[in-house]
Symmetry: C2
């Protein structure tokens, strides 16, 4: 979709720009740039500042080169109108300035803030070849105004209820379960009421009032119904509607652009034939060969038959424009090939015993037998591992599973068995092989060094249990749900990217704000402050009582895990209060901002996405083009 | 929609059946029957068994009478095919049998279980005149098979992950924060993992494993992503899709039935006119007068003009069939009436001063002034009440608000000001009047008896804060959202009914299982077991530490509040574990069943409903019929 110049040199440059090696290099350096946070202070694996800053400059150079390359293939006015290029330029300049200032201050022994690290995900967003992530960001931007109004109304309501709570409970000298004053400070009430919306402090927040009279519980129940159920559903509804509307717009725009391009191509190739302009068969074939060089001759022939329905020797405008859609459809060539063994030793493969074996494997009883074996295996897994009989049984199960795969490969054609669409066969085989390798490795380690590697053993356990998943494939209704879920996975990766970007930014900010304030001591540590996470301010806090010390912002990894816990919402106020105690009340804003961005926006987008995916799956009808091909295939037999 | 016999006597009986007094009586006795649980043991207000059982028998008699009445107007074969009649008969018989058995055992001093109380909501569901609640139940029944498959897959996955957790952590002698063994018993792991899906024990459940290595946190994060985010969204998606599909079916069915009936009516009334059959104008008018006696002549004339577009003196079939839709549309007669004061004393009302006052009230500045007053009021509310200056200020604000309403009524026509559609005017006026009454009452109580009634004061506080809500009406975007929310409220009542039915059944079961096991002692109680809720089994439990004693099943009211807390989900495992400690492990099943029914089914239906309501609101376009009327109104001027 990028408008580019049409000189041969420009085309060569453009092809080079899109070469897979160039793209892989870019991704590699984006990865390096992002992972620098692991080595920079506060680091998981510390490296000197010189090393990380040199690596960062190198990354910036690569990004700059990539951008210059892109500028060469794009007309200048288009290049500077594209916000993504401007973002990259600003990010590069910002990072350079920050590096220089930070380095200069470091030499004079002043520690400043590396603020430009927040900008790093900009490269991931703007260089990514998939437009998906940018599409999601555009979708968020479009949802923002509407969500903002609902959010303002929501906050207004929270503030109003907080005021009521202050008036109702403020003067009664009540105490919370922990013994602190109950609902006396307006700002604290607002925070408590906001937490109640996320249900994290329910029912504790209501207990002191409920102890006086059950009527007060109605106040909290009304509050929860309005905010947790009504408003949160409204947020989801707004996001979902925008998602649908926006998605529809995007698809319409794409379809329109594709159509216009195809009409342009048609106008170049057209030849007058009778009353209408058409494209000759030879030219059509040449075009398809150029555009899609890797489709087979028979496939091309099929497409031609679909486009030139009456075999007139040419393709008219309507059918020509449809070509792009036709090329997008995967036609799986179901070649019924002979089994390779049949070619190698036909006598043995077609013998009566072999025939009998193969029909046995194809029988339903074979599947049922293995379902029973899996169930028995499940029971054995649950039993105690240290019994030698049971650990021998594990070998029996493993060999049974390997036997099954071998039998299946013997019966079915291997290439068909391991076709791209056969998800379960791939899953089975890789699990079994991995389990075999891990079990052998574990046994070797045990026998040679009497040392039982816990990591390998853990992997063996997980693989062993994962095998049980196979039973799902035997029940048809489960298979349908699983297929939908598996189909959803690739697009979910976009959300993974989105979450990574947001987490990275919040983690960098969190590390600047909270690093070193809370420390984790090993379980058996005898350090005097081990029980208060190394910070006396946490004495008697719920944070320390819950042994949450391990949840800190002392390196990128811990930060990510804390942010995950905050996303799950439960106990987030305990975590937030812990960090507030070691810093300042204003730290609550960081946690509330995270909740608004991640839980109200991103989690709702995810839910909207799943809703839509299942809706599409339920109302799936084959598109016109697909049915045209199917019809043709049936015609041709 | 009920097929009924057509003899005059049957019609009279049918009209009697549908008379509002009969319906009100039925509702009253349903209410009495349901509220018996408040007086029966375990009671909020105890009454002797004889009194409650007599009341129940009376209710049953009324229900039976109502059913007999219904049987009289329905053909016998139709009556016995209707499941709702059969349900009522079974419920009546069951309750009678239970009453007799329970009474007999009570006389011989044996206490048994009043199991038939669970059946009481059956009357509410099956007698209700609105079909909404039955529609929701039908919708749930239709969703069940699909949800069951997803649920089985979900439970399979939970069981598998629990097995992995057992293998990974079972042998490590880890301890939870409370010091109990960590992940050693399979059944307890399954419960813990199920609780983790609801996020209620996150991150506590993960901390001991995370303390060993951050890699183990990945296990829990994967689990939460799959179950809490993916599967819970899938549940919502299944419910939402079924809701949409089912709703569409219902609407199609209704539209089809209505159309068929209208065609039948047309066939009776039709007269041949030229090439087509039509209904004469006079007959049409007569019909409309019979069917809708309370619409005005001008309204009827308007409908006729719409139906008989070209004023041919008759209505053709197509327009006739549309009549039912036409009658459903509310046409608001906007009579621009003179202000009553203008009629009484035109000289004064139309004087220069009065004109000036009225134009002032109509000015935008008037609204803005009052917005500023509301904001100042908000600050005064937040300030300390005991300052005498501030409590005087309250009188000033109250009189300002009353002045505003008086001015508005003076300026605008009172009937227009208090029209049905003017929600905010009604809201304002009732809040202000209620606040006036409550404030006066409070002052009187204070001055006469030096006794400050807390209840009245609480109401004053709430009303005072609710007044602030008015500011929402001044901002247009907020008004749109509020209007949607307010439109949703009437249909939400159906969900209220549904929730009531489910809560009632669970509350009755819960009271039978857990009554008296946990007791609440007043804060200042010196009872020896006050800190463990009157049950030594709760010693050191989180239930007792959280001071949750007030959450018990000792009467209907407390049960409802506990069930609400369980619906909100947070800390539900603490509540469940408390009741498990005082009874048996199997009690967990009760709490899990409640979670599945209420959170997975009903809350999702609620969310689906809000999603759809907002979707409809966003994509709202005027229907054909409505625009036909509007066109006609514009034509007629």
């Amino acid at each position: 979709n990028i408008p580019f110049e049409t000189s041969p040199q420009a085309v060569r440059l453009y092809n080079l720009y899109n070469h897979w090696a160039m793209q892989a290099t870019t991704y590699f350096f984006i990865f390096v740039d992002l992972s620098l946070a692991v080595f920079e202070d506060p680091a998981v694996y510390p490296l000197p500042f010189l090393a990380t800053s040199l690596a960062e400059v190198l990354c910036l150079l690569v990004f700059f080169g990539r951008l210059v390359h892109f500028a060469k293939v794009t007309p200048r006015n288009v290049f500077w109108k594209d916000t993504k290029n401007i973002c990259i330029v600003i990010a590069i300049l910002g990072t350079l300035i920050d590096l220089i200032i930070y380095g200069a201050l470091k030499i004079s022994n002043i520690n400043s803030v590396r603020w430009s690290r927040v900008l790093r995900p900009v490269f991931l967003i703007n260089f990514a070849e998939s437009h998906q992530i940018r599409k999601v960001f555009r979708s968020i931007r479009n949802t923002l105004p509407e969500i903002t109004y609902v959010f303002l109304l929501f906050m207004f309501s929270v503030l109003m209820f907080s005021l009521m709570a202050l008036k109702l409970f403020g003067d009664r000298n009540l105490q919370t379960v922990e013994g602190s004053p109950y609902f006396t400070n307006y700002l604290e009430i607002v925070f408590d009421m906001y937490v109640l919306v996320t249900t994290a402090n329910s029912p504790d927040i209501m207990i002191p009032a409920y102890d006086i009279s059950w009527l007060y519980s109605l106040f909290f129940i009304t509050y929860v119904v309005i905010h947790t159920y009504l408003f949160m559903s409204v947020f989801l509804a707004v996001v979902y509607n925008n998602y649908k509307k926006h998605l529809k717009n995007e698809i319409c725009k794409l379809a329109y652009m594709k159509r216009r391009k195809m009409v342009e191509a048609f106008n170049i190739l057209k030849v007058k034939e009778g009353p209408e302009f058409v494209v000759k068969e030879a030219q059509w074939k040449e075009l398809v060969k150029r555009v899609a060089p890797d489709i087979s001759t028979s496939h091309r022939e099929l497409l031609l038959r679909v486009s030139d329905d009456e075999q007139k020797g040419y393709v008219d405008k309507k059918s020509f424009v449809r070509l792009a859609d036709l090329l997008n459809i995967q036609v799986i060539a179901m070649k019924i090939q002979a089994h390779p063994l049949e070619n190698w030793m036909p006598r043995v493969y077609n013998s009566a015993a072999s025939q009998c074996l193969r029909s046995m494997v194809k029988h339903r009883g074979f599947v049922w037998t293995y379902d029973v074996i899996i169930l028995i295996n499940a029971i054995f897994i649950a039993l105690d591992e240290r019994n030698p009989l049971i650990s021998y049984a594990e070998w029996v199960f493993l060999s049974l599973y390997i036997l099954e795969i071998l039998l299946k490969v013997y019966t079915y054609e291997p290439r068909a068995f391991f076709a791209k669409t056969q998800f379960w066969n791939w899953f089975d085989t890789s699990i079994i092989i991995a389990a075999l390798v891990a079990t052998v490795l574990n046994t070797l380690l045990k026998s040679t060094s009497q040392y039982n590697s816990q990591q390998v053993l853990d992997i063996v356990f997980i693989l062993r249990v994962l095998r049980l998943l196979r039973i799902v494939d035997s029940i048809k209704r489960f298979r349908v749900i699983m297929t939908t879920l598996i189909n959803v996975v690739p697009t979910m990766l976009t959300f993974g990217e989105l979450v990574l970007v947001v987490y990275y930014m919040f983690a960098i900010i969190g590390m600047e704000l909270f690093q070193g304030k809370i420390q984790f001591f090993n379980m058996n540590s005898t350090a005097p402050l081990a029980l208060v996470c190394g910070n006396p301010a946490l004495k008697d806090s719920q944070f320390a009582q819950g042994k949450y010390c391990v949840n800190n912002f002392n390196d990128l990894l811990s930060s990510f895990i804390v942010l995950t816990e905050l996303t799950v919402v439960n106990q987030w106020h305990t975590l937030a209060n812990g960090f507030v105690l070691v810093t300042h009340q204003a730290a609550k804003l960081y946690f509330m901002a995270f909740h608004i961005v991640v839980v109200i926006m991103i989690v709702n987008i995810f839910t909207a996405f799943i809703l839509e995916a299942f809706y599409v799956e339920y109302s799936l009808e084959k598109s016109d083009v697909e049915s045209a091909i199917e019809r043709k295939i049936q015609e041709l037999g």
